[in-house]
Structure formats: structure tokens, C-alpha cells
């Protein structure tokens, strides 16, 4: 997808969230999208589609031709995923800061329906600048939504640079804790740490701050603000694939 799109893609925020989505889809209980008791996975950071579409494809929700249609005319699969239950997509992402609020409504509805499921929402760290996020965090603990897990892809970057330079977030664990969450920080590239954290049960809503590296695994884009949305030439793509294969010990 990153190389076939001529428009470019959100490489940085896709690759920072790769393990998060892999672990999330291994933990989340989604046998079928028609199962009302399924866990809900809501992607607030809608631009992580390189990881998200890949996870949905691995889970069998997306077909190979869906991936191949990425950012082609007439496609349903573009830079921000759009709600499409038959394809496993619960939420139309894109506008930052919206997803957690939506997830609180979903979590409340699931509780009201007497379901014993869980609602996961993945947010980026940059989008936490949005005021509405904090409205919804207050509301989540006020409604005692212990079926809700907020995951933050803490890759430390937003469009203009480091979050701590643009709008300092400082300790997210402290912030979430003070908003009534059971908050924990993990290595966002460790599948075992992520998997354990996603299984966390609490009497409060849970927040998982996953420390990640923007454009993780691609040396020439890692921790580079230009990786936020960029084009990959065929040559650069081949180099990236080589590096990722080496890092993960793939053939």
C-alpha cells in the first residue's frame, strides 16, 4: 500500500502502531462482526491504516484485492478507514480526537445491553491535544465504564515535530490516572507486554500508554517528522522491506 499509492500514506503513524494492532487483534474476541457480543475495536487515529488494513486482512475481514485497491479511484479503502461492518471497521476515523467519545457511547450501550464484552479504542498521542478527548475521559470514569480500554500510540510525534516541543503532553500516565483511569505504560513494540496489558481487568476504565517509535523499523524514516505522510519510492520501499525483515527475522 505504501508504495502503490501515488498520493502517499501515513507511514510514521502506521508503523508505530503495527505491533499494537497485531496484539489487539490477537486478544480481541471477534468471531464475527454479526455477533452482538463481540469486542469492539475502534480506531480513533484513523490514519494508521497501513497497520489497520493489514490487521483486518490478516484476520480475514479484508481481501487481498481490498488492499490492492488502496487509494485507487472508486476504492472503499483510503487514507482514513470508513465504517464498514462487513469489513470489520466499526468507526470512520480521520478527524482527530473523536474516537474516545464515540467509544464511551459504545461502552455505555454495551453495558446497558448487559453484554460482557470489551471496547478498545486506539488513539494517537498527538490527537490528545484536542479538548474533546478530555471531555470524554472525564465522562468515561463518570459513567464507570470499566469495559473500556483506551490505548495511546505514544510515538512522540505530531505533524510539526515532537509532541513535547509542539504541545507538551508530559506524563500521560499521570493525566489518565487523575481522570479516573487505571493507567499503565508498556513497550508498544513488545507483543508480550501489549498482550498482557490488553488483558488487564479493572473496576475503572483502563488506559494503556504504549511507548512506540514513529515509522518503527524503517531506519531512514524513524523519528523523522516527515514520515507523518510521505511517498515511498520503489527503491526506498525495497530498502525498508529488507530492514524490517532483518529486524523481525523474516525470510
Amino acid at each position: 500500500m505504501a508504495v502503490t499509492s501515488s498520493f502517499g500514506s501515513h507511514i510514521g503513524g502506521g508503523f508505530s502502531a503495527m505491533e499494537i494492532l497485531a496484539a489487539l487483534y490477537s486478544v480481541a474476541n471477534i468471531r464475527s462482526m454479526e455477533d452482538n457480543a463481540r469486542d469492539r475495536v475502534i480506531i480513533s487515529k484513523g490514519h494508521c491504516v497501513l497497520a489497520y488494513y493489514t490487521a483486518l486482512w490478516k484476520k480475514g475481514f479484508l481481501a487481498e484485492e481490498d488492499l490492492e485497491s488502496f487509494e485507487k479511484d472508486g476504492t472503499s479503502f483510503y487514507g482514513h478507514a470508513a465504517r464498514n461492518l462487513s469489513k470489520g471497521i466499526e468507526f470512520s476515523g480521520g478527524s482527530l480526537g473523536l474516537g474516545i467519545s464515540f467509544a464511551t457511547g459504545v461502552a455505555r450501550a454495551c453495558k446497558d445491553k448487559g453484554l460482557d464484552n470489551r471496547v478498545f479504542v486506539l488513539a494517537g498521542d498527538g490527537e490528545l491535544d484536542e479538548g474533546m478527548v478530555w471531555e470524554s475521559l472525564m465522562s468515561a470514569s463518570n459513567m464507570k465504564l470499566n469495559n473500556l480500554t483506551v490505548i495511546v500510540d505514544r510515538n512522540n510525534y505530531q505533524v510539526d515535530g515532537l509532541t513535547e516541543d509542539v504541545m507538551a503532553l508530559s506524563s500521560l500516565e499521570d493525566k489518565f490516572t487523575s481522570f479516573g483511569f487505571d493507567a499503565v505504560t508498556v513497550d508498544g513494540h513488545s507483543l508480550s507486554e501489549l498482550t498482557e496489558a490488553f488483558g488487564r481487568k479493572s473496576d475503572k476504565p483502563v488506559a494503556i500508554i504504549a511507548n512506540t517509535v514513529k515509522a518503527h523499523g524503517i531506519s531512514f524514516l524513524e523519528n523523522n517528522k516527515l514520515s507523518h505522510h510521505c511517498l515511498l519510492t520503489r527503491k526506498k520501499y525495497e530498502q525498508a522491506v529488507k530492514e524490517i525483515k532483518a529486524e523481525y527475522g523474516l525470510e
Binding site: R83, E90, S92, S95, L98, I100, S101, F102, A103, T104, G105, V106, A107, R108, A109, C110, D112, K113, G131, M132, E135, S136, M138, S139, N142, M143
Partner: protein
């Protein structure tokens, strides 16, 4: 749902957004439970306290947070629970405009969005609290029906209709207690179908919300001046019932407690723009610029939104 004369009188005394709406909710709650009422710290002003006390499990207060109000409502709607979101019209339509576009428009969830205290209802609170742009904003949201009821009974009927409407609905309520009734008895109401209240061959007055009653007064004044005016209750701004507009008149007039562009006047202008021939249109409402604060009656009069002011403007246009 049937409304007795007793209830109609009671609701009129209570006012549209003050309590008629709460009374209607109590009625609706008796026959269905597949909905939630969400409020942004507006339970008491919107007359919802009785509902909240009777059905605490169906009521969610998100605090003074209109954006999260709509976001939470959308989450509920995605799970098949119909949300009724209540806040002041000005903040609901402006602070959470993007959320409304996202969830009612883009994701097409059937939200029922109820704005209370629209227009100049909040009087001495001043321009921060006036909602005179909400119709324009809400009209821009794809597939969102925009309804502006003319009295307390119509507010109740609009809510009832919205509960079974196939799509999201914005309902604009106005005023405090003591809203003058347009309708003394129950009648047929459906979203998107305008209601002709009076027939007259010279002038076609299309009025919405609080201005319907004023239009009836203006029509009477015109009659004493030998001018025959029709009055149509355009309670739905979108979809606009263009088929209800009679173009065989000397002039057309729109009346709204809103800016005279972007709302009903704007919608009618857009419709007329596509016609090869049509009578001239007089758009009555607030112009551009801030509104000089005063009592409700004084501000309406200053803007020419009294029966006398409207009649005078129409007579001037007919000359």
C-alpha cells in the same frame, strides 16, 4: 400519539423547550425504552428533571461538553439505541458542528438533536447565547432533517415524529414559559410536509418556528388593509416542502427568528433561483451584524419581526 386539549394548554403554559418537550418525553417513554436522553448540563432548563427522576437509567448527563454529547450519542446510536441529545441551540449547533457533521452526516446515525432556547430566547444573556445561525449550519449537514416547530404542541409532535424518522433530525425549540399556541387541537404532522394555515391570493407568507404565530397576526393586519395573505407553517426547513409553495402570488415572504440568509429565506431563495419565473421574495429575519441586546419583544420589534413590522414591510414591498 394523541394529545388532549388539556395537555395542549398545559404544554403551552410550560413553553416549548422549558417543559412541553419533557412532557412529550414522558409520554413517549411509556411506549418505548429503546432510547436514551443525553444532556449537556441542561436537564433542568429543558424540563427533563421528571424524566431523569422517573427513568434514571435512560438519562445521561455529560456535563457542559456539547462535543462529547454528540460523540457519546453516536456511540449509543451505533449500538441501536436512539439518542436524544439536548443542549442550548447556539452551543449545540456551533460547538459540536463537526461532531454533528461526522455522526449525523458522514456516518448517518439517527441522532435526534434538540436545541433549546433558540433565536433570541435568552434575551439579556446577549449575543453569545443567541442562536440565529443554527438553521444555516444544520442545513449543511448531509441528510440531517431540520425542524423548527411553531408552538409547544408542535414541539411535542416533532419529537414524536423524529423518534420514527428514518434518519437524523435537528429540532429547534424556542422560548421560555407561556408560548402562544398556533394550534388549539391535535392535527397531522409529518417531517418534510408544510402546513397551510391560511389562504389569501395576494401574498404567500412562509413562516417557521416562533414566526408562524406572528405571521398569522401580520396576515390579519394586512386583511384590514385590503391585502389577502396566505400563511404556510414551514416547520421543516430541510427537506424543504417546495411543492407547498404557491408561486401564483404578487410576492413571497419568508419569516424566521434567524438571520435572513442561510435558513428558511436562504432555502427558499435557492429553490426560486431554479425557476424561470417567480414572484419577488421578501426575506424577513435578522440581517448581518450583532443584535442590540434588549428584551425579547423589543429585539424582535427592532428587527421588524413583529406582526406590525412584517405587515408594514409587506405593504412597502407591494407598492
Amino acid at each position: 400519539m394523541d394529545w388532549s386539549k388539556f395537555n395542549i394548554k398545559l404544554m403551552s403554559m410550560a413553553g416549548q423547550g422549558g417543559s412541553a418537550f419533557g412532557m412529550a418525553l414522558m409520554e413517549i417513554a411509556q411506549s418505548r425504552s429503546d432510547f436514551r436522553v443525553l444532556s449537556a448540563d441542561m436537564s433542568t432548563p429543558a424540563g427533563l428533571d421528571k424524566f431523569k427522576a422517573t427513568y434514571p437509567e435512560r438519562f445521561i448527563n455529560v456535563g457542559i461538553a456539547e462535543q462529547n454529547l454528540i460523540g457519546t450519542a453516536a456511540g449509543l446510536a451505533s449500538e441501536g439505541i436512539r439518542p436524544i441529545c439536548v443542549a442550548q441551540s447556539c452551543f449545540l449547533s456551533m460547538r459540536s458542528f463537526e461532531q454533528i457533521r461526522q455522526y449525523a452526516g458522514y456516518m448517518n446515525f439517527p441522532l435526534i438533536i434538540v436545541g433549546i432556547a433558540s433565536g433570541l430566547s435568552l434575551q439579556y444573556f446577549g449575543n453569545t447565547h443567541f442562536a440565529v445561525e443554527d438553521l444555516a449550519l444544520m442545513r449543511m449537514v448531509p441528510s440531517l432533517a431540520v425542524v423548527s416547530p411553531c408552538d409547544s404542541l408542535e414541539a411535542a409532535k416533532a419529537l414524536d415524529a423524529a423518534m420514527s424518522y428514518d434518519g437524523p433530525v435537528y429540532i429547534r425549540l424556542f422560548g421560555g414559559p407561556g408560548v402562544p399556541s398556533v394550534y388549539g387541537q391535535d392535527y397531522d404532522f409529518s417531517i418534510g410536509r408544510a402546513i397551510r394555515l391560511r389562504e389569501g391570493n395576494d401574498v404567500e407568507i412562509l413562516a417557521t418556528g416562533s414566526m408562524v404565530k406572528t405571521a398569522m397576526g401580520a396576515a390579519q393586519l394586512l386583511e384590514s388593509n385590503g391585502v389577502q395573505a396566505s400563511v404556510v407553517n414551514m416547520h421543516t426547513i430541510k427537506p424543504l416542502d417546495t411543492g407547498a409553495i404557491n408561486l401564483e402570488r404578487k410576492i413571497l415572504v419568508t419569516m424566521e427568528e434567524h438571520r435572513n440568509f442561510g435558513g428558511l429565506g436562504g432555502a427558499v431563495s435557492e429553490f426560486l433561483g431554479g425557476m424561470a419565473k417567480h414572484p419577488p421574495l421578501l426575506r424577513i429575519g435578522f440581517g448581518d451584524g450583532n443584535i442590540k441586546v434588549g428584551s425579547y419583544a423589543c429585539m424582535l420589534q427592532e428587527a421588524g419581526l413583529s406582526a406590525e413590522g412584517v405587515a408594514e414591510a409587506i405593504l412597502g414591498k407591494l407598492k
